[in-house]
Structures are given as structure tokens and as C-alpha cells.
Amino acid sequence: MLTVYIDFKSPASYLAINPVLALVERHGIALAWKPFRTSEREAPTVTDNASVAQMHRKVRAVSRRVIQQKYAAHQGISLEFPEAVGNTDLALGALALTSGDPLPFINAAFAAYWTDHADLNAPTALAILMSETTGEDFVLDDKSCLDALESSQAEAEKLGVVDAPAFIIRDQLFIGREHLPWIDEIIRTET
């Protein structure tokens, strides 16, 4: 079983979807998608007298964006960074509550956030997205969603997850899709 923690506002999570699906297709391994609330932040604005720390954060954030957009282009993914980082809590909670195959919802939610800058914390829009993609008559209950997210969050943090995408396989934690070669090796060793 491969467990993958994701957040819809995390570009690295979005870029991990296709490589993870390719891995799963190669090995036929069971897969569980789980939500994890990341701390994505906008690239800070800096003034002429910014501290080294402020400059470092700014340069790092800008560099990461450029690199993520570069690899997104390789995958044919549109990655339009919103002006302000959106709250995705309700969508993440909804993911935790999905009973069937969550992949259509995951794909739709990522595309909605990164192409249309959709508000994934808006109950009505989210309920429609869930119903359309899961085929379930989804009645969104804010409290249940948020409780489900907090439960998943606590479980992830207990496992040492600090960012997404995070992978748990055979009790090992890997953060970032750059680890997929090692994860692939673990799966091959298992089977």
C-alpha cells in the first residue's frame, strides 16, 4: 500500500499526480490519497533594505515557482499561481470523506485551483465539484469535512509529514516526487 498525502494548493502535489499514477500502473499497487494542509505562502515582497532572511525567502520562492512551472510545462500542465494562496481546507476534508475512487475529484480540484483559481473552500461550488466527479450525491457538511481534515492532519504529523506530496510506504516517509525511484525500488522488492 502506498499512501500519498496531498494538498490542492501545493504545486508540488499537483505535479506528483501523473508520476504517481504511472508508478501505480507499472506495479498495480494499492494506493490511498490522503489530505494534508501545507503552509504554502506567496512570494514575499521585499524592500531595498530587506534583511538577508527576507531576501532568501523571496529568492527561494521565486526560484521554486520558476522551476515548478518549467516541470509543469514538461507534463503539459497549466500552473497559474494565484495572487494569494487559497484556502483548500474544505476540499481536503471532502477528499478525506470520499468513499469511492477519489481520482476524478482530485484531478478536477487541482485543475480548478491551478487553472481557474477556484475557491476550494466555498461549500456550494465544492459540493457541485464533488457530485460531478464522484458520482455521489454529496451533501457537504463543513464540520464533518474539517474534522476529517484535522484527523488526517494529526495522523500525518504523527508520521513526521511536514509538507506535500508525502509518501508512506513500508513505514518509510518520503517528501517530494523526486523520491519515486526509491519508492519504485521498495515496491519492486516487495513484489
Binding site: 532568501h56 525567502r57 526560484s63 518520503f174
Partner: protein
């Protein structure tokens, strides 16, 4: 020296005190050999306290820390653990450092080797990085760095003057150029006008440097079988 310009097809920035650089050295040297190229290796001495806060450890326990939240500590713990397991795959030991070192002398050693005997650079990295990460090397001591140069077969005569004079000036001249040119950590690879942080870009670098045939690969930490 301009931080983005070189006669080599690839510039590689490293810092002896970075665990990420440590685990990137061998894969990057291997790429150099595989492609039959000579990369332009340069030092980037990280100013860690300015952006991650500072800490001092004794016998594995933190005895002093400033500016680090529990979240930052968790991320640092994961990062070290992650670098450690990849180091282990390379047959290397990576112990957490007891303090944030001034690695400038050992990093100026890179400039010295490049100037004196470029082909010994791999030997110098072998003499510095693994023992430092086993906590066996005081890289703030000029004589220790000179012994590493000697171990790599590089003449260390003149290094005293170089590390405090010409080499120090070269090193210090690079430092203020990094942020304005989008460089913030190590290993950083500069290829053409692209600045890429992290060894996960090695597959892309190989693809780029060998003619860009087929689709561009995704990021990956390439692994050798355990």
C-alpha cells in the same frame, strides 16, 4: 567572476557544510565522468543563521537555539534524516553537525584546487566531505584544510596566503551576487540561463547536456541499487 557565467557548460555551487551538497557530490561527479565534461565547481558559503536561525548541539542534544520554531525543527530533522539515508546508500556516514560551521576556508580550497590541479577536485571532495560529515574534521582550521589538499595530492604551498588573500577575495566577491541572480542554496546548478537548486535536477541536466533527445525527464533522486 560572474556567478552565472562560465566557459564550462555547467556551473555547480557547493558548500562543505551542506548535507544536500554532500549527497550531491558523487552523483554530480559521476555525471561529469559520464558526459566526459568538466564542470565549473564553485563555492557558495551559506549564511544559515540568517534564514534558518541558529543552533548548537552537544552530544547530539540541542544546547542553544534561536529563531527556530517547532515546525522549522521538524523540517530540519526530516531533511537531515533524508540526506542521511541517501548518504548511506552511497556508503557514506552523515552525522548531524554540532554547530553551524564557517566553511569558507574549506570552500576556498575548492577554488585553490581548480586553480592548481583541476583533476584532483574529486580527491579533494573525498578528503573533505566524508570526514567532515563523520565529525572528524575541523574545517575552520587552515592546517586541517591543507592536510586535505595534501591528501588529495594537491600542493598546499601558498594556500595560507591564498585563503586570506586572493582566494578569499574571489570567494567574498561571489557572495553578494547570489541573491540578485536567483541563487539561494546548494547544490545549485547553472546551465545556460537556468538556475536549478537540488540534485533532483540531475536527470534534466543529463538530458540537456547530451542533446535534449526525447522528452525532458522529471525531477528524481537517481539511485544505485542498495
Amino acid at each position: 567572476m560572474n556567478v552565472l557565467q562560465s566557459d564550462s557548460p555547467l556551473i555547480v555551487y557547493v558548500d562543505v557544510k551542506s548535507p544536500y551538497a554532500f549527497v550531491a557530490i558523487r552523483p554530480t561527479l559521476a555525471l561529469e565522468v559520464e558526459l566526459g565534461m568538466k564542470f565549473d565547481w564553485r563555492p557558495l558559503t551559506l549564511d544559515i543563521p540568517s534564514y534558518l536561525g541558529s543552533a548548537e548541539k552537544k552530544e547530539g542534544k540541542v544546547v542553544a537555539s534561536s529563531g527556530r520554531s517547532p515546525k522549522v525543527w521538524n523540517a530540519i530533522r526530516y531533511s537531515y534524516g533524508d540526506a542521511r539515508r541517501y548518504a548511506k546508500r552511497q556508503g557514506l556516514i552523515l552525522k548531524g553537525t554540532e554547530k553551524i560551521w564557517d566553511s569558507s576556508i574549506a570552500n576556498i580550497g575548492i577554488l585553490w584546487v581548480v586553480e592548481q590541479d583541476r583533476d584532483k577536485l574529486g580527491g579533494y571532495f573525498d578528503a573533505v566531505f566524508p570526514p567532515f560529515w563523520r565529525r572528524e574534521l575541523d574545517i575552520e582550521d587552515v592546517d586541517v584544510v591543507k592536510s586535505c589538499l595534501a591528501a588529495a595530492g594537491v600542493d598546499a604551498d601558498g594556500f595560507d596566503d591564498f585563503q586570506s588573500g586572493e582566494g578569499r577575495a574571489l570567494h567574498d566577491d561571489l557572495q553578494p551576487q547570489f541573491h540578485p541572480h536567483g541563487i539561494y542554496g546548494v547544490p545549485t546548478y547553472v546551465i545556460g540561463d537556468e538556475v536549478l537548486f537540488g540534485r533532483e535536477h540531475i536527470p534534466y541536466l543529463r538530458w540537456h547536456l547530451s542533446g535534449q533527445k526525447g522528452p525532458a525527464p522529471d525531477i528524481a533522486y537517481e539511485i544505485e541499487p542498495c
